[in-house]
Protein backbone atom coordinates (compact mmCIF):
# COMPACT_ATOMS: atom_id res chain seq x y z
CA UNK A 1 0.00 0.00 0.00
CA UNK A 2 2.83 2.37 0.86
CA UNK A 3 4.35 1.56 -2.57
CA UNK A 4 1.16 2.77 -4.20
CA UNK A 5 1.22 5.93 -2.14
CA UNK A 6 4.84 6.56 -3.08
CA UNK A 7 3.97 6.08 -6.74
CA UNK A 8 1.09 8.49 -6.44
CA UNK A 9 3.43 11.02 -4.86
CA UNK A 10 5.83 10.51 -7.72
CA UNK A 11 3.03 11.14 -10.21
CA UNK A 12 2.08 14.29 -8.37
CA UNK A 13 5.63 15.56 -8.39
CA UNK A 14 5.91 14.67 -12.05
CA UNK A 15 2.88 16.66 -13.01
CA UNK A 16 4.07 19.62 -10.98
CA UNK A 17 7.58 19.74 -12.39
CA UNK A 18 7.63 21.70 -15.61
CA UNK A 19 7.88 19.88 -18.92
CA UNK A 20 8.39 16.34 -17.60
CA UNK A 21 5.33 14.11 -17.31
CA UNK A 22 5.06 10.75 -15.62
CA UNK A 23 2.51 8.04 -15.95
CA UNK A 24 2.19 5.75 -12.99
CA UNK A 25 0.88 2.25 -13.47
CA UNK A 26 -0.67 0.84 -10.32
CA UNK A 27 -1.52 -2.78 -9.63
CA UNK A 28 -5.08 -4.00 -10.15
CA UNK A 29 -7.12 -3.79 -7.00
CA UNK A 30 -9.05 -7.03 -6.45
CA UNK A 31 -12.60 -6.41 -5.44
CA UNK A 32 -13.95 -8.78 -2.82
CA UNK A 33 -16.95 -10.74 -4.07
CA UNK A 34 -19.70 -12.37 -2.07
CA UNK A 35 -19.92 -16.21 -2.27
CA UNK A 36 -22.97 -15.86 -4.53
CA UNK A 37 -21.10 -13.47 -6.79
CA UNK A 38 -18.22 -15.88 -7.05
CA UNK A 39 -20.54 -18.78 -7.88
CA UNK A 40 -22.14 -16.65 -10.60
CA UNK A 41 -18.76 -15.71 -12.09
CA UNK A 42 -17.73 -19.33 -12.29
CA UNK A 43 -20.93 -20.50 -13.99
CA UNK A 44 -21.81 -17.37 -15.93
CA UNK A 45 -22.00 -19.08 -19.31
CA UNK A 46 -24.34 -21.86 -18.14
CA UNK A 47 -26.49 -19.53 -16.04
CA UNK A 48 -27.06 -17.01 -18.83
CA UNK A 49 -27.63 -19.74 -21.43
CA UNK A 50 -30.12 -21.67 -19.35
CA UNK A 51 -32.01 -18.67 -18.07
CA UNK A 52 -32.33 -17.34 -21.61
CA UNK A 53 -33.85 -20.59 -22.79
CA UNK A 54 -36.04 -20.91 -19.72
CA UNK A 55 -37.49 -17.43 -20.06
CA UNK A 56 -38.15 -18.02 -23.75
CA UNK A 57 -40.15 -21.16 -23.02
CA UNK A 58 -41.89 -19.56 -20.05
CA UNK A 59 -42.90 -16.59 -22.19
CA UNK A 60 -44.15 -18.96 -24.89
CA UNK A 61 -46.12 -21.06 -22.40
CA UNK A 62 -47.72 -18.16 -20.55
CA UNK A 63 -48.26 -16.25 -23.75
CA UNK A 64 -50.33 -19.03 -25.25
CA UNK A 65 -52.20 -19.58 -21.98
CA UNK A 66 -52.95 -15.88 -21.63
CA UNK A 67 -53.95 -15.64 -25.29
CA UNK A 68 -51.23 -13.24 -26.56
CA UNK A 69 -49.90 -16.07 -28.72
CA UNK A 70 -52.25 -18.03 -30.95
CA UNK A 71 -51.73 -21.72 -30.09
CA UNK A 72 -53.23 -22.67 -33.44
CA UNK A 73 -50.10 -21.43 -35.21
CA UNK A 74 -47.48 -21.48 -32.49
CA UNK A 75 -48.63 -24.25 -30.17
CA UNK A 76 -47.11 -24.19 -26.69
CA UNK A 77 -44.32 -26.10 -24.97
CA UNK A 78 -46.68 -28.29 -22.96
CA UNK A 79 -48.76 -29.07 -26.05
CA UNK A 80 -45.63 -30.12 -27.92
CA UNK A 81 -44.59 -32.41 -25.06
CA UNK A 82 -48.11 -33.89 -24.97
CA UNK A 83 -48.06 -34.40 -28.75
CA UNK A 84 -44.66 -36.07 -28.47
CA UNK A 85 -45.89 -38.45 -25.78
CA UNK A 86 -48.93 -39.35 -27.86
CA UNK A 87 -46.84 -39.74 -31.01
CA UNK A 88 -44.21 -42.12 -29.65
CA UNK A 89 -46.97 -44.60 -28.77
CA UNK A 90 -48.06 -44.93 -32.38
CA UNK A 91 -46.26 -47.75 -34.31
CA UNK A 92 -46.44 -45.77 -37.56
CA UNK A 93 -44.31 -43.07 -35.95
CA UNK A 94 -41.45 -45.50 -35.37
CA UNK A 95 -41.78 -46.68 -38.98
CA UNK A 96 -41.36 -43.06 -40.04
CA UNK A 97 -38.29 -42.63 -37.85
CA UNK A 98 -36.72 -45.83 -39.19
CA UNK A 99 -37.51 -44.74 -42.74
CA UNK A 100 -35.80 -41.37 -42.34
CA UNK A 101 -32.83 -42.87 -40.55
CA UNK A 102 -32.41 -45.43 -43.35
CA UNK A 103 -32.35 -42.65 -45.94
CA UNK A 104 -29.73 -40.74 -43.98
CA UNK A 105 -27.53 -43.77 -43.28
CA UNK A 106 -27.61 -45.34 -46.73
CA UNK A 107 -27.32 -41.99 -48.52
CA UNK A 108 -24.42 -40.86 -46.35
CA UNK A 109 -22.46 -44.12 -46.55
CA UNK A 110 -22.89 -44.26 -50.32
CA UNK A 111 -21.69 -40.68 -50.74
CA UNK A 112 -18.71 -41.21 -48.41
CA UNK A 113 -17.62 -44.48 -50.01
CA UNK A 114 -17.75 -43.01 -53.51
CA UNK A 115 -16.63 -39.43 -52.86
CA UNK A 116 -13.45 -40.14 -50.86
CA UNK A 117 -11.65 -42.47 -53.32
CA UNK A 118 -12.77 -40.47 -56.33
CA UNK A 119 -11.75 -37.22 -54.63
CA UNK A 120 -8.30 -38.62 -53.79
CA UNK A 121 -7.85 -39.78 -57.38
CA UNK A 122 -8.97 -36.46 -58.86
CA UNK A 123 -6.70 -34.52 -56.51
CA UNK A 124 -3.66 -36.69 -57.13
CA UNK A 125 -3.72 -37.67 -60.79
CA UNK A 126 -3.69 -34.78 -63.22
CA UNK A 127 -5.35 -36.75 -65.98
CA UNK A 128 -8.21 -37.90 -63.77
CA UNK A 129 -8.64 -34.31 -62.68
CA UNK A 130 -8.71 -32.97 -66.26
CA UNK A 131 -11.33 -35.59 -67.10
CA UNK A 132 -13.65 -35.12 -64.14
CA UNK A 133 -13.31 -31.41 -63.31
CA UNK A 134 -15.95 -30.23 -65.81
CA UNK A 135 -18.43 -32.79 -64.47
CA UNK A 136 -17.79 -31.82 -60.89
CA UNK A 137 -18.24 -28.14 -61.60
CA UNK A 138 -21.35 -28.73 -63.67
CA UNK A 139 -23.14 -30.99 -61.20
CA UNK A 140 -22.09 -28.96 -58.22
CA UNK A 141 -23.68 -25.89 -59.79
CA UNK A 142 -27.11 -27.54 -59.93
CA UNK A 143 -29.25 -26.67 -56.92
CA UNK A 144 -29.98 -30.20 -55.69
CA UNK A 145 -33.73 -29.81 -55.00
CA UNK A 146 -34.22 -28.92 -58.67
CA UNK A 147 -33.34 -32.53 -59.48
CA UNK A 148 -36.10 -34.02 -57.34
CA UNK A 149 -38.82 -34.10 -60.03
CA UNK A 150 -36.36 -35.69 -62.45
CA UNK A 151 -35.33 -38.34 -59.95
CA UNK A 152 -39.00 -39.02 -59.21
CA UNK A 153 -39.56 -39.53 -62.92
CA UNK A 154 -36.76 -42.10 -62.99
CA UNK A 155 -37.28 -44.09 -59.81
CA UNK A 156 -40.66 -43.06 -58.45
CA UNK A 157 -41.67 -41.68 -55.07
CA UNK A 158 -40.17 -44.48 -52.95
CA UNK A 159 -37.17 -44.54 -50.69
CA UNK A 160 -34.77 -44.87 -53.66
CA UNK A 161 -35.59 -41.32 -54.73
CA UNK A 162 -34.86 -39.95 -51.25
CA UNK A 163 -31.63 -41.89 -50.95
CA UNK A 164 -30.47 -40.49 -54.29
CA UNK A 165 -31.23 -36.94 -53.19
CA UNK A 166 -29.45 -37.46 -49.87
CA UNK A 167 -26.53 -39.05 -51.71
CA UNK A 168 -26.16 -36.11 -54.09
CA UNK A 169 -26.12 -33.65 -51.20
CA UNK A 170 -23.45 -35.64 -49.36
CA UNK A 171 -21.33 -36.60 -52.35
CA UNK A 172 -20.44 -33.09 -53.49
CA UNK A 173 -19.94 -31.80 -49.96
CA UNK A 174 -17.32 -34.49 -49.40
CA UNK A 175 -15.61 -34.72 -52.78
CA UNK A 176 -14.78 -31.03 -53.22
CA UNK A 177 -12.84 -30.60 -49.96
CA UNK A 178 -11.15 -33.97 -50.53
CA UNK A 179 -9.82 -32.85 -53.92
CA UNK A 180 -8.72 -29.57 -52.36
CA UNK A 181 -6.96 -31.41 -49.54
CA UNK A 182 -4.91 -33.59 -51.87
CA UNK A 183 -3.93 -30.61 -54.00
CA UNK A 184 -2.65 -28.66 -51.01
CA UNK A 185 -0.36 -31.36 -49.57
CA UNK A 186 2.91 -29.62 -48.63
CA UNK A 187 5.45 -30.18 -51.45
CA UNK A 188 8.26 -30.33 -48.88
CA UNK A 189 6.62 -33.26 -47.08
CA UNK A 190 6.23 -35.07 -50.40
CA UNK A 191 9.93 -34.43 -51.05
CA UNK A 192 10.77 -36.02 -47.71
CA UNK A 193 8.87 -39.17 -48.62
CA UNK A 194 10.51 -39.27 -52.05
CA UNK A 195 13.96 -38.68 -50.59
CA UNK A 196 13.51 -41.87 -48.58
CA UNK A 197 12.56 -43.66 -51.81
CA UNK A 198 9.00 -44.26 -50.65
CA UNK A 199 6.94 -46.20 -53.19
CA UNK A 200 3.97 -44.38 -54.78
CA UNK A 201 1.70 -46.57 -52.72
CA UNK A 202 3.46 -45.58 -49.51
CA UNK A 203 3.47 -41.91 -50.48
CA UNK A 204 -0.27 -42.21 -50.83
CA UNK A 205 -0.89 -43.96 -47.53
CA UNK A 206 1.72 -42.15 -45.45
CA UNK A 207 1.42 -38.62 -46.81
CA UNK A 208 -1.52 -37.92 -49.10
CA UNK A 209 -4.24 -39.60 -47.06
CA UNK A 210 -3.20 -38.33 -43.59
CA UNK A 211 -2.76 -34.81 -44.97
CA UNK A 212 -6.24 -34.96 -46.50
CA UNK A 213 -8.07 -36.32 -43.45
CA UNK A 214 -8.83 -32.87 -42.00
CA UNK A 215 -10.35 -31.84 -45.32
CA UNK A 216 -12.44 -35.00 -45.55
CA UNK A 217 -13.64 -34.36 -42.01
CA UNK A 218 -14.72 -30.84 -42.98
CA UNK A 219 -16.54 -32.33 -45.94
CA UNK A 220 -18.30 -34.86 -43.75
CA UNK A 221 -19.59 -32.19 -41.38
CA UNK A 222 -20.76 -30.14 -44.33
CA UNK A 223 -22.38 -33.24 -45.81
CA UNK A 224 -24.30 -34.04 -42.64
CA UNK A 225 -25.97 -30.64 -42.75
CA UNK A 226 -26.69 -30.85 -46.45
CA UNK A 227 -28.07 -34.35 -46.42
CA UNK A 228 -30.56 -33.57 -43.67
CA UNK A 229 -31.82 -30.76 -45.87
CA UNK A 230 -32.06 -33.36 -48.63
CA UNK A 231 -34.15 -35.65 -46.44
CA UNK A 232 -36.58 -32.91 -45.46
CA UNK A 233 -37.02 -31.53 -48.95
CA UNK A 234 -37.41 -34.97 -50.53
CA UNK A 235 -39.88 -36.15 -47.89
CA UNK A 236 -41.93 -32.98 -48.11
CA UNK A 237 -42.02 -33.26 -51.89
CA UNK A 238 -43.09 -36.91 -51.96
CA UNK A 239 -45.06 -37.38 -48.78
CA UNK A 240 -45.03 -41.16 -48.61
CA UNK A 241 -43.22 -41.93 -45.37
CA UNK A 242 -40.72 -40.45 -42.92
CA UNK A 243 -40.53 -37.64 -40.39
CA UNK A 244 -40.93 -35.12 -43.19
CA UNK A 245 -44.41 -36.53 -43.75
CA UNK A 246 -45.20 -36.03 -40.07
CA UNK A 247 -44.30 -32.37 -40.50
CA UNK A 248 -46.11 -31.93 -43.79
CA UNK A 249 -49.33 -33.70 -42.79
CA UNK A 250 -49.53 -31.96 -39.40
CA UNK A 251 -49.08 -28.60 -41.08
CA UNK A 252 -51.91 -29.42 -43.49
CA UNK A 253 -54.18 -30.27 -40.60
CA UNK A 254 -53.05 -27.30 -38.49
CA UNK A 255 -51.57 -29.53 -35.78
CA UNK A 256 -48.75 -27.18 -34.96
CA UNK A 257 -47.74 -29.16 -31.85
CA UNK A 258 -47.06 -32.36 -33.86
CA UNK A 259 -45.31 -30.33 -36.51
CA UNK A 260 -43.00 -28.70 -33.97
CA UNK A 261 -42.23 -32.16 -32.62
CA UNK A 262 -41.20 -33.29 -36.11
CA UNK A 263 -38.94 -30.28 -36.51
CA UNK A 264 -37.37 -31.05 -33.15
CA UNK A 265 -36.70 -34.62 -34.29
CA UNK A 266 -34.75 -33.43 -37.33
CA UNK A 267 -32.87 -31.00 -35.14
CA UNK A 268 -31.98 -33.84 -32.80
CA UNK A 269 -30.75 -35.90 -35.74
CA UNK A 270 -28.56 -33.01 -36.83
CA UNK A 271 -27.14 -32.54 -33.34
CA UNK A 272 -26.40 -36.25 -32.84
CA UNK A 273 -24.81 -36.88 -36.25
CA UNK A 274 -22.65 -33.77 -35.95
CA UNK A 275 -21.57 -34.79 -32.46
CA UNK A 276 -20.54 -38.24 -33.71
CA UNK A 277 -18.63 -36.66 -36.61
CA UNK A 278 -16.84 -34.25 -34.29
CA UNK A 279 -15.75 -37.09 -32.02
CA UNK A 280 -14.45 -39.22 -34.88
CA UNK A 281 -12.67 -36.17 -36.24
CA UNK A 282 -10.91 -35.45 -32.93
CA UNK A 283 -9.84 -39.06 -32.66
CA UNK A 284 -8.35 -39.03 -36.17
CA UNK A 285 -6.56 -35.74 -35.65
CA UNK A 286 -4.77 -36.15 -32.36
CA UNK A 287 -1.63 -35.03 -34.19
CA UNK A 288 -2.99 -31.55 -34.81
CA UNK A 289 -2.59 -28.78 -32.28
CA UNK A 290 -5.92 -27.49 -30.87
CA UNK A 291 -8.44 -28.92 -33.24
CA UNK A 292 -11.22 -26.49 -32.56
CA UNK A 293 -14.14 -28.00 -34.34
CA UNK A 294 -17.04 -25.66 -34.83
CA UNK A 295 -20.32 -27.25 -34.06
CA UNK A 296 -22.80 -27.72 -36.88
CA UNK A 297 -23.10 -25.63 -39.98
Amino acid sequence: MSDGAAARDARLRGSLSQGVGYRTILPRVRRKRSPLGRWYRRNERAILGISGLASFFAFWQFGSMAGWIDPLFFSSPTDIVAAAIAEVQVPRFWDDVRYSLTEVTVGFLASFVLAVPLGLAIGWYRRVSFTFDPWLNFFNAIPRPALIPLVVLWVGLGIEMKIIIVFLGGFFSIILPTVEGVRTVEPQVLDVARSFRASSRRIFTSVVIPATVPFIATGVRLALGRLLIGVVVAELYAQTQGIGVLIGKSADSLQSDRMMFGILLFTLMGVITTEIAVRVERRLQRWRPNVNVEEGN
Binding site: D191, A193, S195, R197, S206, P210, V213, W287
Partner: protein
Amino acid sequence: MDTTFALSARGVHMEYRDRKSDTNLVAIDTMDLDVAPGEFVSLLGPSGCGKSTFLKIVNGLLQGTAGEIRLRSGRSGREDAMVFQDASLFPWYSVLDNVAYGLICAGVPRQEARRRSIPLINLVGLEGFAERYPYQLSGGMQQRANLARALAVDSEILLMDEPFASLDAQTREVMQAELLRIWNAAKKTVIFVTHQIDEAIFLSDRVVVMSARPGRILADIHIDLPRPRGLDVKRQQAFTGYADQIWHLLTSHGVSVEPTPDVA
Protein backbone atom coordinates in the same frame (compact mmCIF):
# COMPACT_ATOMS: atom_id res chain seq x y z
CA MET B 1 40.98 -42.91 -60.46
CA ASP B 2 40.76 -42.43 -56.75
CA THR B 3 38.22 -44.86 -55.34
CA THR B 4 38.26 -43.73 -51.72
CA PHE B 5 35.63 -41.07 -52.08
CA ALA B 6 32.19 -40.93 -50.54
CA LEU B 7 30.96 -38.59 -53.24
CA SER B 8 32.45 -37.60 -56.53
CA ALA B 9 30.69 -35.08 -58.74
CA ARG B 10 31.97 -34.26 -62.23
CA GLY B 11 30.64 -31.46 -64.36
CA VAL B 12 27.27 -31.22 -62.64
CA HIS B 13 25.22 -28.67 -64.49
CA MET B 14 21.68 -27.51 -63.98
CA GLU B 15 19.57 -25.24 -66.15
CA TYR B 16 15.96 -24.20 -65.83
CA ARG B 17 13.74 -23.00 -68.58
CA ASP B 18 12.32 -19.64 -67.59
CA ARG B 19 8.93 -19.41 -69.26
CA LYS B 20 8.57 -15.64 -68.85
CA SER B 21 11.79 -14.59 -70.54
CA ASP B 22 12.00 -17.78 -72.62
CA THR B 23 15.65 -18.18 -71.73
CA ASN B 24 17.61 -20.78 -69.83
CA LEU B 25 18.66 -19.91 -66.31
CA VAL B 26 21.82 -21.60 -65.14
CA ALA B 27 21.40 -22.70 -61.52
CA ILE B 28 24.64 -24.68 -61.28
CA ASP B 29 27.49 -24.14 -63.70
CA THR B 30 29.57 -27.30 -64.25
CA MET B 31 30.51 -28.12 -60.70
CA ASP B 32 33.13 -30.64 -59.60
CA LEU B 33 33.26 -31.85 -56.01
CA ASP B 34 34.99 -34.71 -54.23
CA VAL B 35 34.19 -35.61 -50.66
CA ALA B 36 36.22 -38.16 -48.72
CA PRO B 37 34.56 -40.72 -46.44
CA GLY B 38 33.89 -39.27 -43.00
CA GLU B 39 34.54 -35.72 -44.15
CA PHE B 40 32.34 -32.81 -43.12
CA VAL B 41 31.95 -30.44 -46.06
CA SER B 42 29.84 -27.29 -46.13
CA LEU B 43 28.44 -25.71 -49.25
CA LEU B 44 28.28 -22.03 -48.43
CA GLY B 45 26.70 -19.37 -50.56
CA PRO B 46 23.95 -16.79 -50.86
CA SER B 47 20.40 -17.86 -51.63
CA GLY B 48 20.02 -18.75 -55.28
CA CYS B 49 23.54 -20.12 -55.66
CA GLY B 50 22.28 -23.61 -56.38
CA LYS B 51 23.60 -25.23 -53.21
CA SER B 52 20.25 -26.76 -52.26
CA THR B 53 19.69 -27.74 -55.87
CA PHE B 54 22.99 -29.59 -55.80
CA LEU B 55 21.89 -31.55 -52.72
CA LYS B 56 18.61 -32.44 -54.38
CA ILE B 57 20.45 -33.71 -57.43
CA VAL B 58 22.68 -35.84 -55.21
CA ASN B 59 19.59 -37.18 -53.45
CA GLY B 60 17.75 -37.83 -56.70
CA LEU B 61 14.86 -35.44 -56.04
CA LEU B 62 16.01 -33.46 -59.08
CA GLN B 63 17.87 -34.49 -62.19
CA GLY B 64 20.71 -32.37 -63.46
CA THR B 65 21.04 -31.21 -67.03
CA ALA B 66 24.54 -32.63 -67.37
CA GLY B 67 27.26 -34.21 -65.32
CA GLU B 68 27.81 -37.32 -63.27
CA ILE B 69 27.71 -38.05 -59.56
CA ARG B 70 29.05 -41.19 -57.95
CA LEU B 71 28.18 -42.12 -54.39
CA ARG B 72 29.53 -44.79 -52.11
CA SER B 73 26.91 -47.01 -50.49
CA GLY B 74 26.88 -47.28 -46.75
CA ARG B 75 26.69 -50.38 -44.56
CA SER B 76 22.93 -50.50 -45.08
CA GLY B 77 23.28 -50.22 -48.84
CA ARG B 78 21.87 -46.69 -48.80
CA GLU B 79 24.16 -44.01 -50.19
CA ASP B 80 22.50 -40.92 -48.80
CA ALA B 81 19.80 -39.57 -46.54
CA MET B 82 18.55 -36.03 -46.36
CA VAL B 83 17.86 -33.68 -43.46
CA PHE B 84 15.51 -30.98 -44.62
CA GLN B 85 14.80 -27.48 -43.40
CA ASP B 86 12.15 -26.88 -40.78
CA ALA B 87 8.65 -28.36 -40.84
CA SER B 88 9.60 -31.49 -42.67
CA LEU B 89 8.54 -34.02 -40.06
CA PHE B 90 5.29 -35.78 -40.85
CA PRO B 91 2.92 -34.00 -38.48
CA TRP B 92 0.62 -37.03 -38.28
CA TYR B 93 3.34 -39.38 -37.05
CA SER B 94 4.89 -39.53 -33.61
CA VAL B 95 8.62 -38.88 -33.29
CA LEU B 96 9.17 -42.64 -33.25
CA ASP B 97 7.22 -43.26 -36.44
CA ASN B 98 8.93 -40.32 -38.13
CA VAL B 99 12.36 -41.72 -37.28
CA ALA B 100 11.33 -45.20 -38.38
CA TYR B 101 9.99 -43.91 -41.70
CA GLY B 102 13.12 -44.33 -43.79
CA LEU B 103 13.61 -47.88 -42.53
CA ILE B 104 10.00 -48.78 -43.28
CA CYS B 105 10.44 -47.38 -46.79
CA ALA B 106 13.49 -49.63 -47.12
CA GLY B 107 11.29 -52.62 -46.40
CA VAL B 108 12.06 -53.16 -42.71
CA PRO B 109 8.96 -54.44 -40.85
CA ARG B 110 7.28 -51.76 -38.73
CA GLN B 111 8.05 -53.23 -35.30
CA GLU B 112 11.66 -53.88 -36.21
CA ALA B 113 12.02 -50.37 -37.64
CA ARG B 114 10.65 -48.87 -34.44
CA ARG B 115 12.98 -50.94 -32.32
CA ARG B 116 15.97 -49.83 -34.34
CA SER B 117 14.90 -46.18 -34.17
CA ILE B 118 15.05 -45.89 -30.41
CA PRO B 119 18.87 -45.73 -30.07
CA LEU B 120 18.91 -42.88 -32.61
CA ILE B 121 16.20 -40.98 -30.77
CA ASN B 122 18.41 -41.28 -27.70
CA LEU B 123 21.53 -40.31 -29.63
CA VAL B 124 20.00 -37.00 -30.74
CA GLY B 125 18.87 -36.30 -27.19
CA LEU B 126 15.14 -36.96 -27.48
CA GLU B 127 14.80 -39.70 -24.84
CA GLY B 128 11.27 -39.72 -23.54
CA PHE B 129 9.85 -37.88 -26.53
CA ALA B 130 9.33 -40.86 -28.84
CA GLU B 131 5.54 -40.77 -28.49
CA ARG B 132 5.19 -37.01 -28.96
CA TYR B 133 3.80 -35.46 -32.11
CA PRO B 134 5.91 -32.87 -33.91
CA TYR B 135 3.67 -29.96 -32.88
CA GLN B 136 4.52 -30.76 -29.28
CA LEU B 137 8.24 -30.20 -29.91
CA SER B 138 10.25 -26.98 -30.07
CA GLY B 139 11.99 -26.07 -33.33
CA GLY B 140 15.32 -27.39 -32.07
CA MET B 141 13.78 -30.68 -30.98
CA GLN B 142 12.04 -31.04 -34.34
CA GLN B 143 15.39 -30.72 -36.07
CA ARG B 144 16.87 -33.32 -33.72
CA ALA B 145 14.09 -35.71 -34.76
CA ASN B 146 14.72 -34.78 -38.39
CA LEU B 147 18.38 -35.68 -37.95
CA ALA B 148 17.54 -38.97 -36.24
CA ARG B 149 15.24 -39.88 -39.15
CA ALA B 150 18.10 -39.42 -41.61
CA LEU B 151 20.59 -41.25 -39.37
CA ALA B 152 18.21 -44.20 -38.99
CA VAL B 153 18.68 -45.43 -42.56
CA ASP B 154 22.42 -45.70 -41.84
CA SER B 155 23.57 -44.28 -45.16
CA GLU B 156 27.14 -43.37 -46.09
CA ILE B 157 26.36 -39.69 -46.57
CA LEU B 158 24.12 -37.24 -44.75
CA LEU B 159 22.81 -34.40 -46.89
CA MET B 160 21.79 -31.47 -44.74
CA ASP B 161 19.83 -28.64 -46.34
CA GLU B 162 20.06 -25.57 -44.07
CA PRO B 163 18.71 -27.59 -41.17
CA PHE B 164 19.19 -24.84 -38.59
CA ALA B 165 18.15 -21.87 -40.72
CA SER B 166 14.86 -21.23 -38.96
CA LEU B 167 16.12 -21.70 -35.41
CA ASP B 168 16.84 -18.77 -33.12
CA ALA B 169 20.51 -17.86 -32.67
CA GLN B 170 20.97 -19.56 -29.31
CA THR B 171 19.26 -22.82 -30.29
CA ARG B 172 21.26 -22.81 -33.51
CA GLU B 173 24.55 -22.71 -31.61
CA VAL B 174 23.43 -25.53 -29.34
CA MET B 175 22.41 -27.57 -32.37
CA GLN B 176 25.73 -26.91 -34.11
CA ALA B 177 27.61 -28.31 -31.14
CA GLU B 178 25.16 -31.21 -30.91
CA LEU B 179 25.62 -31.98 -34.60
CA LEU B 180 29.37 -32.26 -34.12
CA ARG B 181 28.87 -34.61 -31.18
CA ILE B 182 26.47 -36.79 -33.20
CA TRP B 183 28.69 -36.69 -36.28
CA ASN B 184 31.53 -37.88 -34.12
CA ALA B 185 29.42 -40.73 -32.76
CA ALA B 186 27.79 -41.75 -36.04
CA LYS B 187 30.87 -41.43 -38.26
CA LYS B 188 29.07 -40.19 -41.34
CA THR B 189 30.14 -38.19 -44.32
CA VAL B 190 28.22 -34.89 -44.20
CA ILE B 191 27.45 -32.39 -46.91
CA PHE B 192 25.98 -29.39 -45.16
CA VAL B 193 24.32 -26.53 -47.02
CA THR B 194 24.20 -23.16 -45.29
CA HIS B 195 24.37 -19.45 -45.95
CA GLN B 196 25.97 -18.66 -42.60
CA ILE B 197 29.71 -18.20 -42.65
CA ASP B 198 30.38 -18.95 -38.98
CA GLU B 199 28.20 -22.05 -39.05
CA ALA B 200 30.11 -23.43 -42.04
CA ILE B 201 33.54 -22.79 -40.48
CA PHE B 202 32.58 -24.10 -37.07
CA LEU B 203 31.26 -27.41 -38.39
CA SER B 204 33.40 -28.25 -41.37
CA ASP B 205 36.63 -29.81 -42.48
CA ARG B 206 36.17 -27.97 -45.77
CA VAL B 207 34.05 -25.01 -46.76
CA VAL B 208 33.13 -24.87 -50.43
CA VAL B 209 32.20 -21.27 -51.20
CA MET B 210 29.76 -20.72 -54.05
CA SER B 211 28.78 -17.64 -56.01
CA ALA B 212 25.25 -16.54 -56.81
CA ARG B 213 23.56 -17.39 -60.09
CA PRO B 214 25.03 -19.05 -61.98
CA GLY B 215 26.21 -21.15 -59.05
CA ARG B 216 29.86 -22.07 -59.30
CA ILE B 217 32.62 -22.85 -56.84
CA LEU B 218 34.66 -19.79 -55.82
CA ALA B 219 36.94 -21.50 -53.36
CA ASP B 220 37.46 -24.72 -51.48
CA ILE B 221 38.88 -23.84 -48.07
CA HIS B 222 40.30 -26.37 -45.65
CA ILE B 223 39.43 -25.46 -42.10
CA ASP B 224 42.41 -26.32 -40.01
CA LEU B 225 40.92 -26.02 -36.54
CA PRO B 226 41.49 -28.76 -33.96
CA ARG B 227 38.70 -31.20 -33.14
CA PRO B 228 36.75 -31.77 -31.03
CA ARG B 229 35.59 -28.19 -31.29
CA GLY B 230 33.66 -26.39 -28.61
CA LEU B 231 31.71 -23.20 -29.20
CA ASP B 232 34.69 -21.23 -27.85
CA VAL B 233 36.49 -22.02 -31.14
CA LYS B 234 34.40 -19.24 -32.64
CA ARG B 235 36.35 -16.68 -30.61
CA GLN B 236 39.78 -17.87 -31.76
CA GLN B 237 41.81 -15.78 -34.12
CA ALA B 238 42.14 -18.57 -36.68
CA PHE B 239 38.36 -18.81 -36.79
CA THR B 240 37.79 -15.12 -37.38
CA GLY B 241 40.58 -15.24 -39.96
CA TYR B 242 38.63 -17.81 -41.96
CA ALA B 243 35.45 -15.79 -41.54
CA ASP B 244 37.16 -12.67 -42.92
CA GLN B 245 38.67 -14.57 -45.81
CA ILE B 246 35.29 -16.01 -46.84
CA TRP B 247 33.48 -12.75 -46.29
CA HIS B 248 35.92 -10.88 -48.56
CA LEU B 249 35.67 -13.63 -51.13
CA LEU B 250 31.89 -13.38 -51.27
CA THR B 251 31.68 -9.58 -51.24
CA SER B 252 34.35 -9.26 -53.92
CA HIS B 253 32.07 -11.33 -56.11
CA GLY B 254 29.23 -8.92 -55.64
CA VAL B 255 27.41 -11.05 -53.12
CA SER B 256 25.79 -9.17 -50.30
CA VAL B 257 26.37 -11.25 -47.23
CA GLU B 258 24.39 -11.18 -44.06
CA PRO B 259 26.84 -10.13 -41.39
CA THR B 260 27.93 -13.09 -39.31
CA PRO B 261 26.08 -12.90 -36.02
CA ASP B 262 28.37 -11.88 -33.22
CA VAL B 263 29.48 -14.71 -31.05
CA ALA B 264 28.59 -13.31 -27.70
